[in-house]
């Protein structure tokens, strides 16, 4: 297991609901339950799930933005707890974040140069002003913002969404981290430039041996971009495996539905009618397998007990009673 650069083990996060519950008791929101996830160096791992399923919470737990209710985060196989102060800054040196919205993640009052030079200075990667200039230019070049002299002194509002996201990526790289967590890095970008940013992330993971976690709701882009895919539903992991195998032969009915919901130009006939339904409330999640109220393969056992992990070989596994007891 120690080949994981960054690993989450049995992560659980319960938030306190703002209101609700009887007699003023605030029920917990079970945002994430028993999530285990590992990132390997030079590999892109995707975490896929619909809005509100807890994937951003997993990202923040791994980034130590807030503490887990239970479970632990391991960096290079060693458990870390670093939520504040010097330990938090030291952890930041290893694990960096890319935010979803490039229009909000750059301070409108600072130039591109400032955004890139600060992390270099903080983490002591520069010796002199000339050195700083050189490294900022190199960072801009790595994220393909050329000619660098032009971009260095631009204000964020002078850049497009894609350019801003490239600056944000360069800022994360300036720290020289070993792991990068990208929380929906392209969902706020125009469709036409998404591919460019994804290619860039892929190239960076490849070249500098970064462990990259790509969080998305778009399973098609995950298939294209990631080596491994883990699927999440209502705060629990439901299936994981090598990207191509998982998308070709999904083992869990939810993954199947997710794949069918992606538009496919080659599909001529309308997709089979699927059972309607909404994602469950995380304050009062369904008993047993959380997907059972919407599942086409539902069995009596599904509402009674949470399915254990069923290994399907070649690193693939799923949490599904149908896969555990094939009929």
């Amino acid at each position: 297991m120690s080949d994981f650069v960054l690993e989450g083990r049995d992560l659980t996060k319960h938030f306190t609901a703002a209101r609700g519950g009887r007699w003023g008791r605030r029920p917990p929101v079970r945002a994430v339950d028993d999530v285990s996830l590992g990132l390997r160096a030079g590999t892109v791992t995707a975490l896929v799930g619909e809005s509100g399923c807890g994937k951003s919470t997993v990202a923040r737990l791994l980034a130590q933005v807030y503490p887990a209710t239970s479970g632990e985060v391991l960096l290079h196989g060693e458990p870390v707890k670093a939520h504040r102060g010097a330990a938090f800054r030291a952890y930041r040196r290893q694990v960096q974040l890319i935010f979803q919205d490039p229009f909000a993640s750059l301070n409108p009052f600072h130039r591109v140069r400032y955004h890139l030079a600060r992390p270099l200075r903080i983490h002591g990667h520069v010796r002199s002003d000339a050195d700083e200039q050189e490294q900022v230019a190199e960072l801009l070049e790595r994220v393909s913002l050329t000619p660098v002299e032009q971009f260095m002194d631009k204000m964020p509002h002078e850049l497009s969404g894609g350019q801003r996201q490239r600056v944000a990526i360069a800022r994360a790289l300036a720290v020289q981290p070993v792991a990068l967590i990208a929380d929906e890095p392209v969902s706020m970008l125009d469709v036409s430039i998404r591919l460019g940013v994804l290619r860039l992330l892929e190239k960076l993971a490849d070249e500098s041996g970064l462990a990259l976690l790509y969080i998305t709701h778009d399973i098609a882009s995950a298939r294209y971009f990631a080596q491994d895919i883990t699927v999440m539903y209502a705060g629990r992991l439901i299936e994981s495996g090598e990207a191509e195998a998982l998308t070709q032969s999904p083992a869990h009915p939810y993954t199947r539905l997710l794949l069918e919901s992606a538009p496919d130009p080659d599909r001529v006939t309308a997709p089979e009618t699927v059972r309607l339904g909404e994602p469950p409330s995380l304050i009062d999640p369904p008993s047993g397998c959380r997907f059972h109220p919407r599942c086409p393969l539902v069995m009596p056992v599904c509402s009674e007990r949470v399915p254990e992990r069923t290994s399907l070989g070649e690193g693939r596994w799923t949490h599904c009673w149908a896969a555990a007891h094939p009929s």
């Binding site: 980034a63 933005v65 800054r89 930041r92 040196r93 960096q96 974040l97 935010f99 919205d101 909000a104 993640s105 750059l106 301070n107 409108p108 009052f109 600072h110 600060r118 992390p119 903080i122 983490h123 204000m155 964020p156 509002h157 944000a168 800022r171 994360a172 300036a174 720290v175």
Partner: protein
């Protein structure tokens, strides 16, 4: 338009305060034998009971009134920024302490407190009056800034700065402060108005340094000399009008800033909006 009119008024008074005394060169306290004369070619705004020239006094008074106003607004704004931003950013016990402190100063009746404090001052110089006014007037700004900080600190770029390893004080003063500059400017200008009025009030009550000429102390002596009863309008109208005008100018600039900083109030087309 508002901001232009306001800036014009302020520029006029600032110029008067800085360059006026040099141009006139007379002593504002110098008495003469032409007491209580109306406006004439010799004394454009007339004279006081003891024959002091009103115009000279107005010009010198601008220095003191505006000096006290700006100095105490600077002190009050520094206090408000420190308390509001630091409390709002850190939250928890620090925020609680600062909030309680702010609330105490908010509910203190400031004029009586200023009077009491000014009464006990060892020497009633311009600077000490400014400090007294600042100490009683910073809380409002601190409260506004704390509320704004609470909203800004949750924005992505603050999270991102924290993620790159920035230290809290650096985040407060380099990431959050620039975003709050319009609010700080607004509260600064409002505090200047408040401080000028407070200084005038103190002087009028005879609690400031009466040996220095300010608009307030002119009103005090006008009142003492029963200017209203004897119909010497030129004695009390100019200082009163100056105070009113400078208040109007500052308020106009404030509205103007608000219109630029708050898009919902924007009526004029701003050619190049900054982010």
């Amino acid at each position: 338009m508002k901001i232009k009119a306001g800036v014009a008024i302020l520029a006029f008074f600032t110029l008067m305060a800085i360059a006026g005394p040099l141009l006139i060169g007379a002593d504002p306290a110098a008495t003469s034998n032409d007491g209580l004369q109306g406006p004439s070619s010799a004394h454009w705004l007339g004279t006081t009971q003891t024959g002091q020239d009103i115009l000279v006094q107005i010009v010198y008074g601008a220095r003191v009134s505006m000096g006290v106003g700006v100095l105490s607004a600077v002190i009050a704004t520094l206090l408000a920024v420190a308390v509001g931003l630091v409390g709002g950013y850190f939250g928890g016990a620090i925020d609680e302490t600062f909030s309680v402190l702010t609330n105490i100063f908010l509910v203190l009746p400031s004029l009586p407190l200023i009077i009491v404090l000014a009464g006990y001052l060892p020497q009633r110089g311009v600077a000490s009056v400014a400090v007294v006014i600042a100490v009683t007037g910073w809380a409002w700004g601190a409260r506004v800034l704390r509320a704004q900080t609470l909203s800004v600190r949750r924005r992505d770029f603050v999270e991102a700065a924290r993620a790159s390893g920035e230290r809290p004080l650096r985040i407060i003063f380099f990431e959050i402060l620039p975003v709050l500059l319009p609010v700080i400017a607004t509260s600064f200008l409002a505090t200047v108005v408040g401080a000028i009025l407070a200084e005038a009030g103190l002087s009028f009550l005879g609690l400031a340094d009466l040996s220095t000429v300010s608009w307030g102390s002119m009103l005090y002596f006008a009142q003492n000399g029963q200017a209203l009863l004897i119909g010497a309008w030129w004695w009390f109208i100019p200082p009163g009008l100056c105070i009113a005008l400078i208040g109007t100018g500052l308020a106009l600039v404030n509205f103007g800033i608000d219109e630029i900083a708050n898009p919902r109030l924007r009526t004029i087309k701003v050619r190049k909006a900054r982010a």
